[in-house]
């Protein structure tokens, strides 16, 4: 990680803790281009301790790109990423994890052929004993993994079974439980409930609420405005890589949120198009 602007800011991080509501992670005018595809542009976002920031938007709006910048998987190509007020550039997800930022990715989750407990602790394995006899703390890791999975309502007979033998939702739960376990300060969830049943979705939402109670900053990406409105403190709606809406809970209603997510003005245009295709009167189509 390259930390720009050393000196006074660095000292500030150690000497006196930043003011209570200061963002842990902040994006200022951040953007990301993949070659000549500009996936994200000029986005501001603040992740504050004890608050849930919901990121909403269409497919391809740039939500995953946004969180991959925060989690260290991609580097931003414009703007700034600040952790505790200090501009950083993550070289790898390891660096973000070391700062207590844990992520559940939409597309990257687990290694199918590896046992459940090895997946759970992958990259953050615990060891015991001293070198050269330092070895994985297998019993301890299995115990922890089992406990964390049980508390999500996933009861597995055999933690040695390859993750690939679990159902898609169970696998997702392993990834979520892992992030909850390792996310010390910031928890990022990219559409965590997409593959989950009602019960597990409820558990995930409870987790998000619990993480907020513990003072973590949470970034929650979802397509479900109801889920978002249940737990969110702040809502950012992305459209074609830019922020369309950024509002605190007090400033929007569920209806407005749904309207924005559904594309708002676009929907009206869509109604017109559909009307032309079907040759019906616009007024006959259901209201957005």
């Amino acid at each position: 990680m390259t930390v720009h602007g050393s000196g006074p800011q660095d000292a500030g991080r150690e000497d006196h803790p930043p003011e209570r509501d200061a963002p842990v992670v902040e994006l200022r005018g951040a953007g990301k281009s993949y070659g000549n595809i500009r996936a994200l542009h000029g986005v501001d976002l603040a992740v504050r301790p004890g608050r849930v920031t919901c990121v909403l938007g269409d497919n391809g709006a740039g939500k995953s790109t946004l969180i991959k910048i925060i989690s260290g998987l991609h580097r931003h190509t414009e703007g700034e990423l600040l952790v505790d007020g200090v501009p950083v550039r993550f070289g790898s997800p390891r660096e973000a994890l070391d700062l207590g930022i844990a992520t559940v990715y939409q597309d990257l989750a687990t290694v199918p052929l590896m046992p459940v407990w090895r997946n759970f602790f992958l990259g953050s394995e615990t060891t015991r004993g001293r070198w050269p006899l330092r070895r994985l703390d297998i019993e301890g890791m299995k115990r922890t993994a089992d406990r964390e999975l049980r508390s999500m309502g996933i009861v597995l007979d055999d933690l040695e079974q390859p993750v690939g033998t679990l159902s898609g939702g169970q696998r997702q739960c392993v990834a979520i439980a892992r992030a909850v376990h390792f996310g010390a300060r910031v928890l990022i969830l990219d559409e965590p409930t997409a593959a989950l049943g009602v019960k597990q979705s409820g558990v995930v939402l409870k987790y998000i609420a619990a993480a907020r109670e513990r003072g973590l900053g949470v970034v929650f990406i979802t397509h479900n405005p109801h889920h978002a409105y249940l737990v969110g403190d702040h809502f950012s709606v992305l459209r074609l890589g830019t922020l369309e809406l950024a509002a605190d809970r007090a400033e929007v209603t569920l209806q407005e949120l749904t309207h924005h997510m559904a594309g708002g003005a676009e929907l009206a245009a869509l109604r017109h198009e559909l009307a032309q295709v079907h040759g019906v009167d616009v007024e006959e189509l259901p209201e957005a």
Partner: protein, 357 residues
């Protein structure tokens, strides 16, 4: 092992569901679990091959024959170990065969040309071998090309350099003898001595082979690095996303192959006192075959260190058994091919079983 049946007193989650399991018999049967172990298929095959030659070739039954078989297996098996780890890590090294010769030539030519103690040559050869491995890994990471291509390139480079450089220095296809140079006797003791058990001579490489296999097993199953090997071979993007240093893991694995090539190269050099510069071509496939017969998945992410030990042992048995049975040795390759295909099919079946829901 099985937390569900153990009284989970230590586990005190916020709200653990009452039921221990959901009662759908998700537990895998012990037999299926055993069969899902990577080396089981190879073990069954090894016993079969042993019994077969035991039956058809009387001279195969002697302790002397066992010693020969084990020696054959060890020389190949020492290289098969790092090649297997690399394969579990999702990559190939086609330069592994000629890299052995490169290492031996480096030590031989350097010691002879500069008239230095052979240990100097041995040390430089180690550095060169590790550097070749690191170069392979670095090139793979920088270019993103498949390791098949990258190491095919280094295979050709090393093969050509082995021949050409040797010719420059010796005007010959073999290196000069280093038998009467300082340290030769000592190095021979370390790399190529023998010991006697019950009146039968065994080569020291057998001991190294088994010790290295034990170390590799420890590495794979009991260390963080071992966990990372499985992860980078299984799904490297997911591994990177949870903080596994993917690039470093791969480079180290390639350097491990370099270290193996060095060790075997030194053994070959000090068993005799010269090296043929054209040797080693084709051996890379034998290493890969030993790993595959031993249950390592060609596509990475699955395998063991015991598997390639058994694979190499099968190789040694077939190689020698055919001789003891007085058959035409040309059958060896055909036999090996059959073994490989059978192993590949068993692997396929194992993987399906292991990931079946």
């Amino acid at each position: 092992m099985n937390r569900a049946t153990a009284p989970a007193a230590s586990a005190s989650p916020p709200a653990p569901p009452a039921g221990r399991t959901d009662g759908r018999g998700t537990r895998r049967s012990p037999v299926r679990r055993l069969l899902a172990r990577p080396e089981v298929g190879a073990l069954i095959a090894a016993i079969g091959v042993y019994l077969f030659f035991f039956a058809v070739a009387p001279s195969f039954r002697t302790a002397g024959a066992l010693s020969t078989v084990l020696y054959q297996a060890s020389v190949m098996g020492i290289m098969a170990l790092p090649v297997a780890l690399l394969m579990i890590g999702g990559e190939f090294d086609l330069s592994a065969g000629v890299a052995v010769t490169t290492s031996a030539l480096t030590a031989a030519v350097l010691s002879f040309q500069f008239t230095v103690n052979v240990w100097t040559g041995v040390a430089v050869a180690l550095v060169v071998s590790l550097a070749v491995g690191a170069f392979n890994g670095w090139l793979l990471i920088r270019t993103g090309l498949p390791s098949f291509l990258v190491t095919l390139g280094s295979f050709l480079i090393l093969q050509g350099a082995n021949l050409a450089v040797t010719k420059i220095f010796t005007d010959n296809v073999a290196s000069d003898s280093i038998a009467d140079m300082d340290g030769f006797g000592q190095a021979r003791k370390v790399f190529a001595s023998e010991f006697t058990v019950g009146g039968v001579d065994f080569k020291i490489t057998i001991v190294y082979w088994l010790v290295l296999a034990a170390a590799a097993t420890w590495l794979l199953l009991r260390t963080r690095f071992g966990n990372w090997i499985f992860a980078v071979g299984g799904d490297q993007d997911s591994a990177r996303a949870v903080g596994v240093p993917v690039d470093r893991t791969k480079v180290v694995l390639f350097m491990g192959v370099g270290a193996g090539a060095w060790f075997v190269g030194m053994h070959l050099l000090f068993s005799f006192d010269t090296v043929q510069s054209g040797e080693g071509v084709g051996n890379e496939f034998l290493y890969i075959i030993a790993a595959v017969i031993g249950g390592c998945l060609l596509t990475g992410g699955y395998g063991s260190a015991i598997g390639p030990v058994i694979g190499a042992f099968i190789f040694g048995m077939v190689n020698q058994g055919i001789v003891y049975a007085n058959w035409n040795p040309d059958w060896f390759k055909a036999f090996l091919g059959v073994m490989l295909l059978v192993a590949a099919l068993v692997n396929l079946w194992v993987r399906r079983t292991a990931t079946r829901r």
